[in-house]
């Protein structure tokens, strides 16, 4: 998943960026509303982590503008405003969750997982795909008792497919998910990783819809 972090504090921003990246997510870190606005205009994010008090404006206004445009990207507010009225205002503005600073990074991971799960329609962190049990919280995949280990790039492709489980994900969308990590994407890169996923997960779980894209059938 590609995450947008909007946070002006250098120390906190670096730590959150590294922590989110360590969970196999691609992350873009912006420190102003202007940069964040420019980013959401050109990139489709799976999640936005949004500070409320930024040098060039309020995160709430950014969120309201986003929602007014019909952008339903899940947003978690990260703020030092701890009052319940701030939280109600944030949720009313369209935030999916609200985390008060200082927070534990594990807590942030749990919230990211809960929000993305809710957003993708999965009620639990374990998704069943045929005989596979994919736990997106602890990044484990079991086929019966056998654990399947995926690389970071393979997880990035699988995440993208699972984010729209049952629906078709186009090749450019998968390419974008790989680009987010700053990886080199060649013309056949997507086919290579789809092929590797089929090999590890089982050919029957990843379907090719010729000329349109790929899909994975999963259920919570």
């Amino acid at each position: 998943m590609r995450v947008l972090l909007v946070e002006d504090d250098q120390t906190l921003g670096e730590a959150v960026r590294d922590h989110v990246a360590s969970s196999h997510h691609a992350i873009d870190w912006m420190q102003t509303i202007d940069d964040a606005t420019a980013s959401v205009r050109v990139v489709e994010y799976g999640l936005i982590l949004l500070d409320l008090r930024l040098p060039d404006g309020s995160g709430i206004d950014f969120l309201k503008t986003l929602r007014a445009k019909g952008d339903a990207t899940p947003v978690i507010i990260l703020t030092a405003h701890d009052q319940i009225s701030d939280r109600i205002e944030g949720l009313n503005a369209g935030a999916d969750d609200y985390l008060v600073k200082p927070f534990n990074l594990d807590e942030l991971t749990a919230r990211i997982l809960a929000v993305t799960r809710r957003h993708s329609g999965n009620s639990t962190s374990v998704i069943k795909v045929g005989t596979l049990h994919i736990n997106i919280a602890d990044r484990s995949i079991f086929s019966g008792k056998d654990e399947i280990i995926l690389s970071g790039r393979e997880w990035a492709v699988l995440d993208k497919l699972l984010s729209r489980a049952g629906a078709i994900v186009s090749k450019p969308q998968i390419e974008e998910a790989l680009y987010a990590f700053g990886w080199e994407v060649e013309s056949n890169t997507v086919e290579v990783y789809i092929s590797r996923l089929r090999k590890k997960l089982g050919r029957e779980h990843v379907t090719t819809v010729r000329g349109v894209g790929y899909k994975i059938e999963g259920r919570s």
């Binding site: 922590h19 030092a80 990074l105």
Partner: protein
């Protein structure tokens, strides 16, 4: 100095002044009336004497041959007792004729035209027949005094009747006139830390408008001061939290990257200290907010919803370990004109207190009851009455070894008071032999 009632003072002063003025007016009226009565009586006395004189002279001359006893008898036959008496006297002063109700003893008045007065009567003398006959008519002073007294009473009695009526009238008028002052007093009395809205009494009389203007200016200054204080605490919270969040996040990242167990252990100590510092800062910020009197608010808030949000926060936090059991009474709602933030701070402190100091293996029970009562109960050792009292004080932590700042309950007590609620601390908990219970009652 004893506080005096303005109403009573006004009624008393106005009534006393009115009575005194009425009495002065009545007295002056009586004096004038007595004077006028004197003139009327004198005029009447003079007219009577002068009209009587030719009759008497004629009668005296025609009956000059009659024996004196007969003359006097004929004039004395009438039994009518009048206010006026007369004597006809000759030049020597001898009484020739007199009215039946007066003795033959000559009047003390001299034989000279005009008025004369002694202690008992007022006389008028008219000479006739070349000063050989004198007709003297006397008017009783008692009669005049009686007339004056009756006249005076006629003036005074209505005044005496009107005094109680006027007291009631003055009381009614004063009460009505002072009503705007009472309205203003109540409007000012209704102002506190949570209600500093300007006073809007459009019907106030002109005399009170400057007071309202002054009070409103004062309220505006108070509002600005409190707003500045609240903003300062909110901004301070933000400015303190952000670097702490950075420090904590960097520490946790470093911990995840370290391979050396000894370094990890050392970093865990730093992280624990940071967490303690964060909790202390949190409490001090809450304390500052309580001092800035954030408890009251003008708008009614759905506190039941806030309670559920706070419980959700605790349930999501790893520390609660799903220990919270929340139950809501049938049709129990809680809507009050209090600050949602203050209410949330009170709840967080009470729930946190129950989670930290209660038995870790038993649940913390939270009940929202009908009528505005919230109960937060946990199992644990029983606290004595002295301990229950002391834990309300700042930095008082009782005998517990559990982590805590000793500020939570004092903050909750202060904010509950500002919200118009009472915080009852009870040990053992209701229907239990052990444990602790915080009961928040809203009026």
């Amino acid at each position: 100095m004893k506080n005096r009632s303005m109403t009573r003072r006004l009624i008393f002063s106005l009534t006393a002044t009115l009575i005194v003025l009425w009495l002065i007016a009545t007295t002056a009226g009586m004096i004038v009336m007595q004077d006028e009565f004197g003139e009327i009586f004198d005029g009447s006395l003079q007219a009577t004497t002068e009209r009587l004189t030719p009759l008497v002279v004629d009668d005296v001359l025609q009956n000059a041959q009659m024996p004196e006893s007969l003359r006097q008898q004929s004039l004395s036959e009438s039994t009518h007792k009048g206010y006026l008496t007369y004597q006809v006297r000759d030049a020597t002063g001898k009484v020739i004729l007199h009215s039946h109700d007066v003795s033959a003893t000559p009047f003390v008045a001299p034989l000279k035209r005009g008025f004369f007065q002694d202690d008992f009567s007022r006389f008028y003398t008219v000479p006739a027949a070349n000063n050989t006959i004198f007709v003297q008519v006397a008017d009783s002073i008692a009669h005049r005094t009686e007339a004056a007294v009756e006249g005076g009473l006629a003036l005074l009695l209505p005044v005496l009747v009107l005094i109680p009526v006027s007291i009631i009238g003055i009381w009614f008028i004063v009460r009505r006139s002072i009503e705007p002052v009472n309205d203003l007093r109540e409007a000012i009395a209704g102002k506190d830390g949570g209600n500093l809205a300007p006073i809007e009494l459009l019907t106030l009389p002109r005399e009170l408008q400057p007071i309202v203007a002054s009070v409103n200016r004062l309220l505006e200054r108070l509002r600005s001061t409190l707003k500045a204080e609240r903003e300062f605490t909110a901004n301070s919270a933000h400015e303190l939290r952000t670097p702490l969040a950075g420090a904590l996040a960097q520490t946790q990242m470093l911990k995840s990257e370290l391979r050396s167990q000894s370094s990890k252990a050392r970093l865990a100590l730093i992280e624990a200290s940071l967490q303690r510092l964060i909790r202390l800062v949190e409490k001090l910020m809450q304390l500052a907010r309580a001092e800035a009197r954030i408890g009251t608010a003008n708008e009614t808030a759905d506190l039941g919803k806030v309670l559920e949000l706070v419980i959700e926060d605790f349930n999501r936090a790893s520390g609660a370990n799903e220990r919270i059991q929340y139950s809501k009474g049938q049709a129990a709602t809680l809507r009050r004109p209090v600050s949602e933030d203050a209410f949330a701070i009170v709840l967080r402190n009470l729930i946190e207190n129950a989670l930290i100091h209660g038995d870790q293996k038993t649940p913390v029970k939270i009940d929202l009851e009908r009528g505005g009562t919230i109960r937060i109960a946990n199992d644990g050792p029983v606290l004595s009455a002295n301990e229950l009292e002391s834990i309300r004080h700042r930095f008082s932590r009782g005998k517990t070894m559990s982590p805590g700042s000793g500020l939570g309950l004092s903050i909750a007590t202060e904010l509950a008071s500002q919200m118009g609620a009472t915080l009852e601390l009870k040990s053992p908990a209701t229907n239990a032999s052990t444990g602790f219970e915080s009961i928040l009652h809203f009026k």
